[in-house]
């Protein structure tokens, strides 16, 4: 057994895997939905149409419940590198530490500096200033994703550094930051946040239409959402394929694990081009006990030729091979979800072409709506399985090819690691359960269609303090809006 799978090291991996897996449940909505909320706000300000305002305020409630959970678990992440992977943090400090420093200063704090204005600033600051605050939350959270993908991409394909005196000293910042994995990995993740948030919109809308509550309002939202998705979902599949090819070139062990591809050559000496639909790897990690295989597909996928060479795990020593189970099945789950979501986007727009995309027409297609509700959950699973593929595929390295995972683990024993694991399971499940419980409560309560639109009447004690006339004037409200103030 490789060192990475022995007890203290395995437990440290699980400790980190758990907190990261729980953190990634929140950030996609923060990153993706903040842009969507900004678009809704702009739509309201430009058209003066109240329905965009109602939708914005409704989804904003869900957004902030999600945001609190994201911050709470994010603070843990920022410290967990040093706590659980101290020696790793030290060795990668010159690059990775700097990037995380960039992230806190240019993104984490940037976002925090405007989130309060965005959520509680209604009526306290002008409409233009408020839209600006929403924009800043959107931009800052995307910047945050960018820096994190720079750092993680570098762990997958480290460039621009030399190992000297136990530190990865940077020799070329440009190459280190724009490492080949980041170049495609970041767009893939960023688009994932938009895709997840759009399906969040779509699923909630579908639920309301299915329940025949505010059906017209939510149909209004569903139209642009589905239109955006028909662009986003195939783009995501394309980016995923590009990233797969990058991994094939840069991290052959990870790709071989994803595909359960053990043998570079067939017994007859030709290249092994078979792609497994199902595979059961053996316990020695040197072959499959059972597999259903289609010839040529693997070469087609990775080299875009019928008989191209794809390096198998047998090309690498046992101690350099990742486990196959998780990358293999997680990868397939992610791909299946990606195609299913593309299909949903096509279906929705086909209904639109048929003139069925209205409240009455949609209710004649309850299965579309039901599957759309399901599609609200699937992107979460795709994000999870994608990251599991990525992180377990990189093993046994923490910095691919340069630093083994065991070399980065902190000085800590099994007891402390277990305490961390059990404690975080408790707390993060509380956060998860709580957030989903309150999501469902807010959704069941439905959008508030009666309280006065902000700016149309003075509201006492709104949010966190006395609502005084704001000193910031609306900057791009139209005359019709001015009348409302």
């Amino acid at each position: 057994m490789i060192i990475e799978n022995t007890l203290p090291i395995m437990l440290s991996r699980l400790d980190f895997a758990f907190i990261t897996s729980m953190h990634i449940l929140w950030t996609p909505v923060t990153i993706g939905m903040s842009w969507l909320l900004f678009f809704l706000e702009v739509a309201w300000l430009r058209s003066g149409n109240e329905k965009w305002y109602r939708l914005q305020r409704f989804f904003e409630k869900l957004f902030i419940v999600n945001f609190g959970a994201g911050v709470a678990t994010g603070v843990t992440m920022e410290m967990a590198f040093g706590i659980l992977y101290g020696p790793f943090s030290q060795a990668v400090g010159p690059f990775f530490g700097n990037i995380l420093g960039f992230e806190t200063i240019t993104a984490f704090m940037y976002e925090a500096g405007f989130i309060g204005l965005m959520i509680f600033g209604w009526g306290k600051i002008g409409k233009g200033m408020h839209a600006f605050a929403t924009f800043n939350v959107a931009l800052s959270s995307s910047l945050s994703a960018m820096w994190i993908l720079v750092a993680n991409g570098w762990m997958q394909s480290p460039r621009g550094v030399v190992l000297k005196d136990g530190l990865f000293q940077v020799t070329n910042w440009w190459n280190a930051i724009f490492n080949p994995n980041f170049d495609i990995g970041f767009p893939h993740m960023w688009i994932a946040t938009l895709e997840l948030s759009l399906f969040f919109f779509a699923a909630v809308s579908a639920w309301f239409i299915l329940k025949n509550r505010n059906a017209d309002l939510f149909t209004t939202l569903l139209k642009p959402t589905l239109l955006a998705l028909v662009v986003i979902t195939p783009l995501q599949i394309f980016l995923g394929d590009e990233l797969g090819r990058e991994v094939a070139a840069d991290q052959p062990t990870s790709l071989a694990a994803m595909e359960g591809h053990y043998h570079t050559y067939l017994p007859n000496g030709k290249f092994n081009t078979g792609w497994h639909i199902i595979a059961i790897p053996n316990s020695k990690n040197d072959g499959n006990v059972f597999a259903i295989t289609i010839p040529h597909v693997l070469s087609l996928l990775e080299t875009h030729t019928l008989n191209g060479k794809v390096t198998g795990l047998d090309h690498f020593a046992y101690k350099d091979r990742p486990d196959v189970w998780v990358p293999f099945y997680a990868f397939r789950a992610m791909v299946a979800i990606g195609f299913f979501l593309f299909f949903m986007a096509l279906w929705g727009n086909w209904l639109r072409l048929q003139g069925q995309l209205n409240a009455a027409g949609l209710r004649r297609h309850p299965w579309f709506l039901r599957l759309l509700v399901l599609s609200g959950f699937l992107p979460y699973l795709a994000v999870w399985t994608g990251w599991w593929t990525r992180e377990i595929g990189r093993q046994p390295w923490v910095v691919y090819g340069l630093m083994r995972t065991w070399q980065g683990v902190s000085h800590m024993g099994v007891t402390a690691e277990s305490a961390w694991f059990i404690g975080y399971i408790t707390f993060e499940l509380m956060v998860w359960g709580g957030a989903w419980y309150f999501f469902s409560r807010i959704i069941q309560k439905g959008p508030d269609l009666t309280s006065p639109v902000i700016g149309s009447a003075p509201s006492e004690n709104a949010g966190g303090g006395l609502a005084q006339a704001s000193f910031a004037k609306p900057t791009f409200g139209k005359p019709t809006l001015e009348k409302n103030r």
Binding site: T104, T106, F108, L117, F427, G465
Partner: protein, 362 residues
């Protein structure tokens, strides 16, 4: 070699620059979030759930940014002093773990409490207890850091391999999981709760209308906390002087400067207490903040040239000069920008509220 010498001087200057900025970020965090955490601790003394909700509402728009200064400080340690980051956080695993659980409970309680019906009491408790635990364990972590920790350059997991390029290079933490525990660190945990209680009650006085019942209760408690805090400061100073080698400089050749600092602290404490007694709430809060700044600055100066006393010097813990230069070039400009938008956000939410704010939900 002359140019090596120059690089070392650049490295030393840049790491000292980031050490000062780090102190600034920490002190901003303590002043701002200390008040929020302290108000959370104080909320445990309230019986009415709506009053607790009013306290949460008073910081609804600002708590996240206030707390994020801690993340910025953490990010700067990682970015500028990764060797310190990777060993100190390892050393502080248990207290940071508890502090983080407190922070998590408190953060989600903010968002859940307003929507809760049946579980409202539970989330109110999570808010108060989370604040208490975060303050207590952050205080323990600070005290433990001041005492330093053992290090070794062997593999942190004790795995030896002939082909390990990381062995015998960078020192890692080498104590055990409970090394942080000492009478002094527990005392600093208690001290943090007392200081937080004072800052929190002063903050509530500045945020609630003076005729409001929450104001009146906070005002009375703030007076009590201020005497407790004074006592705690004296105990901490005497104790530190007795056990910390670096504290010897207080009575060394520069004694006059330290005396001036002490007098400035005492003067600020006096001004804080008189302002508080006269119900000039915002000045009282500012004087309290000034005391924190002076004391934190004094601690930072006492530790010089160490970043972690007797363990990591500023120079030894810093990144290579090239990285510090990059960090300085690209990040320094953001520091005043960060301070400005944070100040704006605090300014927007400056108005006094009443306990009625706790009856609303959004």
């Amino acid at each position: 070699m002359d140019h090596i010498d120059q690089i070392l001087r650049i490295h030393s200057a840049l790491s000292t620059f980031w050490w000062i900025l780090l102190g600034l970020f920490f002190v901003i965090y303590i002043v701002l979030d200390g008040a929020d955490l302290g108000a959370g601790v104080f909320s445990l003394l309230l019986k009415n759930e709506n009053d607790r909700a009013a306290i949460m509402a008073s910081m609804a728009g600002t708590w996240d940014a206030n707390e994020t200064w801690l993340v910025v400080a953490g990010g700067v340690i990682f970015g500028a002093f990764p060797l310190v980051y990777g060993s100190t956080f390892n050393y502080l695993m248990i207290p940071l773990m508890f502090a983080l659980w407190g922070i998590i409970s408190r953060a989600v309680a903010f968002e859940f409490h307003v929507h809760a019906k049946g579980s409202r009491k539970f989330w109110g408790l999570m808010f108060g207890l989370g604040s208490l635990i975060a303050a207590f364990f952050a205080g323990i972590a600070l005290g433990a850091t001041l005492l330093g920790f053992p290090m070794s350059t062997k593999n942190a997991q004790g795995i030896t391999s002939s082909a390990d390029p990381f062995a015998n290079t960078v020192p890692h933490f080498s104590g055990n999981a409970l090394s942080f525990l000492s009478p002094f660190s527990i005392w600093t945990g208690i001290g943090a709760v007392i200081a937080g209680g004072l800052a929190g009650t002063l903050y509530l006085c500045a945020r609630f209308k003076q005729e409001d019942p929450i104001y009146q209760k906070a005002h009375a408690w703030a007076t009590g906390f201020s005497y407790l805090a004074l006592l705690a400061v004296v105990i901490t100073l005497v104790w530190s002087y007795a056990i910390m080698p670096d504290a010897a400089k207080w009575t060394g050749s520069g004694w006059f400067g330290w005396l001036v600092l002490l007098l400035a602290i005492l003067f600020s404490a006096y001004k804080m207490m008189t302002a508080h007694a006269a119900h000039r709430d915002f000045p009282a809060l500012l004087w309290c903040g000034l005391i924190v700044v002076l004391m934190w600055g004094g601690m930072w100066a006492t530790n010089y040239p160490y970043i972690v006393p007797q363990t990591w010097t500023i120079d030894a813990g810093g990144n290579p000069a090239n990285d510090l230069a990059i960090l300085t070039l690209f990040m320094t400009g953001f520091v005043p920008v960060m301070i400005m938008y944070n100040a704006y956000q605090l300014w927007v939410f400056r108005h006094r509220i009443t306990h009625l704010a706790g009856y609303e939900s959004h």
